[in-house]
Amino acid sequence: MSRTILGARIRERRRSIGITQAELARRIGISASYLNLIERNKRGIAGPLLRRTAEALDLRLDELDGAAERRLLQTLDEIALQPDLRALGVESAHAGELIGRFPGWARALVALARSEREATATARALADRLAHDPFLGETVHRMLTRIAAVRSAAEILVDFPDIAVERRERFHRIISEESRELSDVGEALAAFFAKVGESDRTLTPLDEVEALFEANDNHFAAIEEAAEALQPAMRDGDPTPRPERADRVAREQMASLVESIVAQSAQVETAAGEARASIALLGYAADALLAPMASFAPRARALGYDVEALAAAYSLGMSTVCERLAALPRTDRTPRFGYLCVNAAGSIVRIRSLPGLLAPRHASACPLWVLYRAQQSPEAVIRQRALFPSGARFVFLARARNTGLTGFGKPRHYLTDMLALSEDDSTLTVYAPDAGVQVEEVGPACRICPRRGCQHRVADPIAG
C-alpha cells in the first residue's frame, strides 16, 4: 500500500476510535509532531513502529497496511475464475469495487467459498477413509464368507430331500450357527456406520485423542490451573532434572484430574482410546508444569513465538514448546498453531489439529510438505510457505531431532516436529515470510488432491 493511503488510514482509524493525535503518539512512543507528519503522508512508517501503531489502533497489521484487502481481492478473483461459476457471468473486473463499497458482502463471499472448499475436502477425505478402512474390508469379507456357508447349506437342504436325518440336522445347525455369526457381523457394521455419522470419522485410539484435543481447542483450562497451583512443588530444591520432576508431579498429583477429563469426554469411547488420552493429558500436564501458561503466553508473544528462543528461555525440548504453542488460549491476537510429529517412516506420532488444515493421516500423504524433508538437515528449523490447491496458505516450520544418543554403530532415531499456522497468523510471529519468500505448491493427500499433473502423485484422486 502506498504511503498516501497508509497515513490517511491511520488518521481515519484514530478518529473513529476517538483518540487524539497526542494520545496515539504517546502510546506508540513518538512525538505528536512526527505522528502528524505520518498522518499527513509526509513521512513513511514501517517495521516495529507500524506494528505498534496497528496494536494501539486495535487493528491487525494486515488490516492497517491493506494486505487483508489485497488478499480479499485475490480470493475473489480466484472465485470468479472457478469453471463452474464462469457461466454466471461474474463481474470479475469489479471485485475491487465490491470490496470498497460492500466489504461485508465481499468477506461473506470469501468465507462461503472457503467453507464450501473445506466441506468438499472433508467429504472426500471421508470417502477415502471408507474405501480404505481395514475394518470395513475385513468385515465385508467375513460377511460374504458367512453368507456363502448359509447359502450352500440351505441349497443342500432344498436340493437333496433324501438325505439322512442326522445329516439334515447337521446342515440345519450350520445354518443356525452361521446366521448367528452373520448377525454379529451385521451389528458391527451398523455400529461402525453409526459412529461414522456421529463423529465424522472412523475412530482409532489416535483419532480419539485428536478429537478430544480438537474439541477443547488444544487447551485444557483445568489442567493449566492445577499446574499453576502446583508450581511450588516444582521449586522446592529437589535436584531431579525438571522434565522428570514434572512427569512425576503430573503422575502423582494430577492423575485423578486427567482421569475425570477423560471419563467426561464425549470423544473418547474405547478402552484403548482412554489409555492413550490419559497418557497424552499427563504429558500435557507435565508440559504445563514446565511452562505455565500465565508466563509462557506473554513470553511467547514477546519473543515473536520463536520456537528456538522459547526452548532456550525455558530450557525445554522443542516438542514441549510446540505442544505449548498449540495449547495457547484463543484470543484475537494470538496466532493459532497446529502441531504434527512424525517418525522416520512418516507415520503420525502426535497431532494437534489446526482448523482448515487436513493432516496427512493416511497413505499417499503429500511428500512436498517440509515435514518430510526436514530429516535431510536435522536440528535446523526449516520454514515453508505452503499454498494448497484450495488457495489456503500456511506457514510450516519443521525440525527433525534425534530422540536420544544410542551409541556407536547403533541406529539413530529421528522424529520430526512441525508447527503449522495460517499465513495470516504468521504475521504475528518471527516466521512471517517476506514477499520475496518463494511460495511452494503443496497438497493434501494424493487421493484428495486435485493437482492432476503433479509429478509426485502416487495415487489417483477419488473424486472430481
Binding site: 465385508v140 469379507h141 460374504l144 456363502a148 456357508a149 447349506a153 443342500i156 452361521e178
Partner: protein, 125 residues
Amino acid sequence: MTKRVLLAEDEPNIVESLTFLLERAGFVVESEMSGRAALEAAIAEPPDVMILDVMLPELDGLEILRRMRADPRSADTPVLMLTAKGQREDRETALGSGADMFITKPFSNAEVIAAVERLAGGRQR
C-alpha cells in the same frame, strides 16, 4: 476312475457343505484348512482338481498357486479359485497367476459343482 478333489478352505462349515456336494457328484474329496498343508498336499499328490480359497492362514491362495505353478508336479493341476472379495484386481491377479477358473463367495452350489466337473473333464456319473 474316481477323480480326486483337493479342497483348500479354512471355514469348516463351507468345507462340510462342499465335501457333501462333491461326494454326491461322485468325487473323492480331501480337505486342508491351512495354506501350508494345502500346498504340500497339492505337490506331493496332485489332485484332479483343486479348489483354492484366496484367504487362507499361513500362506494365501495366490502364493500357493504361484508355487504350484513353479513345480512341475503341480504345474498343470486345474485350479478353481474361491474368494470373498469380488474385486476385479483379485480376479485379474488370480487368473494372471494361473488359476483356471474363478468363483466369488457367496456362490451357488450348482455353480461350484459345474466348474469342478468342467475342470475334471466331465461329469463323474
